[in-house]
Symmetry: C2
Subunit: 610 residues, 2 copies
């Protein structure tokens, strides 16, 4: 497909010169570009295909960046990136664009996103600043219906509606977050959606009244009561109006004319407006339309049939799900909670097999954690399966609701450590530091599937908060002689006076490095609290190197070092952790940069032994 219109656009404002036909052509070209490029690199697909017309209409109506567009989660901003002069070839790979909004890339990305439900808060801040500075430009937040299950949206709406700012919230309603949407808000939106005619009706009714010759303008004010009556009948149940927003919609999110008309109206109102837009996830690409969950975040695929270029195999997530099903069969008290990540956390089978013991609470990590503590208080054995980066949202709840009075809650922490293409906003490099602050917690970090299974069994038969964290990957092969024991911690003695300490998937790297260099390896299984026995083992060495996929301050390596010092250790102790925020790139590359891959380990050990 030729991209004639697309190529004619040098800057976002060029869109404003296009006629309707050209706008529609532009949308077709954008879709083609997105499908082509994402099929090569992988990335978010269904969400991006759903927002093509909406993005074009927004750039047609608004003057970005003076009227900034703030994307919630940000996995629907590919069209926005393209229209603001960026090439999505190689997106999410090293040197390519980020898969999420990023200020460093463009002045049109005023605010980062990656976690859900933040956009209205951020946009309201910008809008209040504009109000103070006397700037009347609109600020637009685009938020999916899925993100509306997150409490921050409610907190922000509670403040935004009566703020007197020119904030426009565009509710991109595609009837699902990543998994199909749950909860009352989802049902509520479905209810509004089914009243599709009202927006047009209200418009038509006003026109109708104004056009009746005799009872026209004169009687207009008298009729306000009737209108109020109708408004009450159709609109009074509209939660958004309770929040103080003017509600416009629902508008067809693939009808570019209607979108432009609606957004223009929102822009002209000069007070908080909510624009409700219905979109279809995956729109325009049949495999994605039919299976939007699968095409939410996708690996490279063949365009003709949507099949993945490389079939994905097993993973820590899938093994977690399998083990959980096995345990749940034997123990009827085991139940599982996810925050809108049934597939991502490997819980699909569990959710079907143990329906009454499975809870998808929506994008609501805070609630999820306290809810888990409540289930435990009620006698159940809950596991909250959650990505490491999203668990950051529940830090206070782990302390306040599950630890001050200890509740037996298991945390299945997925995507722990470096995550790859998702980049800065999704790195699982903070869970170790924040969890180790919490009195009474136990943390496991298995290095392979068998250990994951053991850790989960132990976690369910222990007490208090039990965290089991594992990476996105599949398990890694290790040399034969490093595979003998599957205990909590394993110690492999080499011939040299040098010890490598690691846990989780870094153990495989450490094992290879040890085989090559003759160093010893200490694999920690239960990483916290640190067993004194391990300090004793380590204390015998002159050179110790601790490799860890965590930020430095608060890492196990730091805690281990403290205990080592206290035990009177006087040798050489060096830690290798993750520094700062890790941008999007392959996991292997990030490991190399931070000195965590086997080659770096070998070099480190060899230099010490010189």
């Amino acid at each position: 497909m030729k991209h004639e219109i697309l190529e004619s656009i040098a800057k976002a404002s060029d869109i404003k010169k296009l006629n309707n036909e050209q706008l529609e052509l532009l949308c077709a070209e954008l879709r083609d570009e997105i499908i082509t490029k994402v099929s090569e690199t992988g990335g978010h697909l269904a969400s991006n295909l759903g927002t093509v017309e909406l993005t074009v209409a927004m750039h047609y109506v608004f003057d970005s960046p003076n009227e900034p567009i703030i994307w919630d989660v940000g996995h629907q901003c590919y069209s926005h990136k393209i229209l603001t002069g960026r090439d999505i070839t190689g997106i999410r790979g090293e040197g390519g664009l980020s898969g999420f909004p990023k200020s460093a890339e463009s002045e049109h990305d005023l605010f980062v996103a990656g976690h859900a439900s933040t956009s209205i808060s951020a946009a309201l801040g910008i809008a209040e600043a504009k109000k103070i500075f006397g700037d009347e430009n609109s600020v637009v937040a685009v938020v999916g219906d899925g993100a509306c299950s997150g409490g921050m949206i409610f907190e922000a709406m509670n403040n935004a509606g009566r703020s007197g700012t020119n904030i426009i919230v565009v509710l991109n309603d595609n009837e699902m977050s990543i998994s199909p949407n749950v909860g009352a808000m989802a049902k509520y939106l479905a209810n509004i959606r089914s009243k599709e005619g009202y927006f047009r009706f209200k418009d038509g009714f006003e026109h109708f009244l104004l056009k009746i010759p005799f009872i026209g303008k004169g009687i207009h004010s008298v009729l306000r009561n009737i209108k109020t009556f109708f408004k009450d009948m159709f609109y009074s149940s509209n939660t958004f109006e309770h929040f103080g927003f003017t509600y416009l919609g629902p508008a067809d999110g693939h009808d570019i004319k209607m979108l432009i008309r609606t957004l223009r109206r929102a822009q002209s109102i000069k007070k908080p407006v909510l624009v409700h837009v219905n979109t279809v996830k995956g729109k325009g690409y049949e495999p994605a339309e039919n299976n939007p969950s699968e095409f939410h975040g996708v690996a490279p695929f063949k365009i003709e049939d949507g099949k993945l270029k490389n079939e994905s195999g097993d993973s820590f997530s899938s093994e977690f799900g399998k083990t959980l099903c096995k345990l749940a069969e034997k123990d009827e008290k085991i139940c599982a909670i996810t925050a809108a990540m049934t597939d991502g956390t490997g819980l699909r089978d569990f959710s079907e097999k143990y329906k009454e013991r499975f809870f998808d609470v929506g994008i609501a990590e805070e609630h999820a954690m306290t809810f888990a503590a409540g289930l435990a208080a009620g006698g159940m054995k809950p596991v909250f399966a959650v990505y490491s980066t999203f668990l950051q949202r529940a830090y206070d709840q782990i302390i306040h609701d599950a630890s001050i009075e200890p509740k037996h809650v298991v945390l299945g922490i997925d995507r722990a450590g470096i995550v790859g293409g998702d980049g800065e906003t999704h790195q699982g490099t903070f869970d170790i530091p924040i969890l180790t602050t919490i009195p009474g917690i136990t943390i496991y970090s298995p290095s392979d599937y068998k250990e994951l299974e053991n850790n989960l069994e132990t976690a369910f038969s222990s007490e208090g908060v039990q965290a089991v964290r594992y990476p996105r990957d599949s398990e890694k092969a290790v040399p034969e002689k490093f595979r003998k024991i599957y205990g909590d911690s394993d110690y492999f003695k080499g011939e040299k006076d040098c010890l490598i300490i690691a846990y989780g998937r870094l153990f495989a790297e450490a094992a290879f490095a040890a085989e090559k260099t003759g160093a010893s390896v200490l694999k920690i299984g239960k990483v916290f609290p640190i067993e004194h026995e391990l300090i004793e083992i380590a204390g015998k060495y002159k050179n110790i190197f601790f490799f860890e996929e965590s930020v430095e301050f608060g890492s196990i390596a730091e805690h281990f070092g403290k205990m080592l010092s206290e035990s009177g250790f006087e040798g050489n102790y060096k830690t290798f952790c993750v520094k700062g925020f890790v941008p999007h790139m392959k996991v292997e590359k990030a490991m190399k940069i931070h000195g965590l891959d086997r080659e770096s380990m070998i070099k480190t050990v060899e230099e010490a032994l010189k």
Copy 2:
């Protein structure tokens, strides 16, 4: 006043035997008991006086703990404590009761509380567990309208309404949280409140229809449509029904008969019910009724006029407010955000003087943080003033919204360190460990008012996230010779080979200990990142003792030790931190227990110098 009825109650279920007159007398006795005891020890007063009738009615109707009552925040549970056999004499003091629900005290406290907005999540967990176990008992969550501004309530309601459990949410609507309530939800509730008659009306209407002889029962079903019409007119705008709850109310929260009738009805419905109760904060004690904010949490006072027994003087909070006003006068970009803590954080004057630059966002720390980042993105210089313990809620937002792409946001962290009477749920001992995990952050911990002022000035003229943390207290006197410089960090050389390191209010303790023992003192002002210069100073000593009001793992003491080790230090380095969760007791006592007071410091130093 005699407490005849009260004394006749040995266990909560004894209430069920009382008649109406006795119930009302019981309420009067409870009020008398609460006013008397809180006037002696201090504590939460206004909220407790508001829930006397509600608590009596709940224990009359429900069978606690089989039908557990989960209190949100928990500062309204004194009547509940008394009725379940506990003596509130000396509450919040060492050896006395906790000021919040606590499982260890009673089987009637099934879930801890202290932070807002958690009760529905916890209750839903318990209710789902009951559902799975086939237990049909109700689970009751009592939540104030103020806590409804917190996103967790929304997340929980979104899951609870259609859960099919027997959860009853009692909305204790006193028209304010700690400060008068803000936001759309508050206005919405005010709107429902103003329709006070409807509950009775609806009841009356149904009775009326059933009683008309000819069109009585026969026509009842036909009339359903009319009833639906009325329901729509009066109830359809009820957000709670959108969430799937059956809505009952509003009921007069001081009419015990009406409360019992309403709660019985809720209990009988056997699906999620929301009971809306209007209460008056401070009810029955005039000073508290007239000034509920002041009597929310109160120091010991004289019953006759409500005046404090000891006038409270200046504090870090009040100095923070003063400094902020001064800075805001010179810089029009400075603005302030609070999460429902205008008075607590010392922002009252600022809020009146700089109305347009002041934002009380309600109990919504997550939103507050991202909103602050948005204000910064819009060109303002925001400070988010928040208690250390509540900042735990915004950890993810500090990372995701303010640090990945650095935003210049100042954090005014109040109640940092040990807090005293509030106990476990409110300790400010986690902020240092979690904040030091965040790349790019700067943390100050002033030891006196002048340093607080300097730190705030520096924070506002720097970049990125700048945290200034200070205790609840007033500043402490230090010996003259330790008062010479007000830099970021000060070093006071003593004659002995021993160094005490401290920051914040512990500096005063350290100074006294140094004066007594001849040790040197290093006061750190900018506590993070740690300056290498300080490591150099410390490195010269053989004995170093670091005293810190923080949990151990992730403390500055730990980070300092790591840097010290890396610099080749081979002396004796010992850290004194806070271990575990600190229960309610005087700050001074908690300091002593953790070895952080001057006497303990002196002992530590003297032993090392032996």
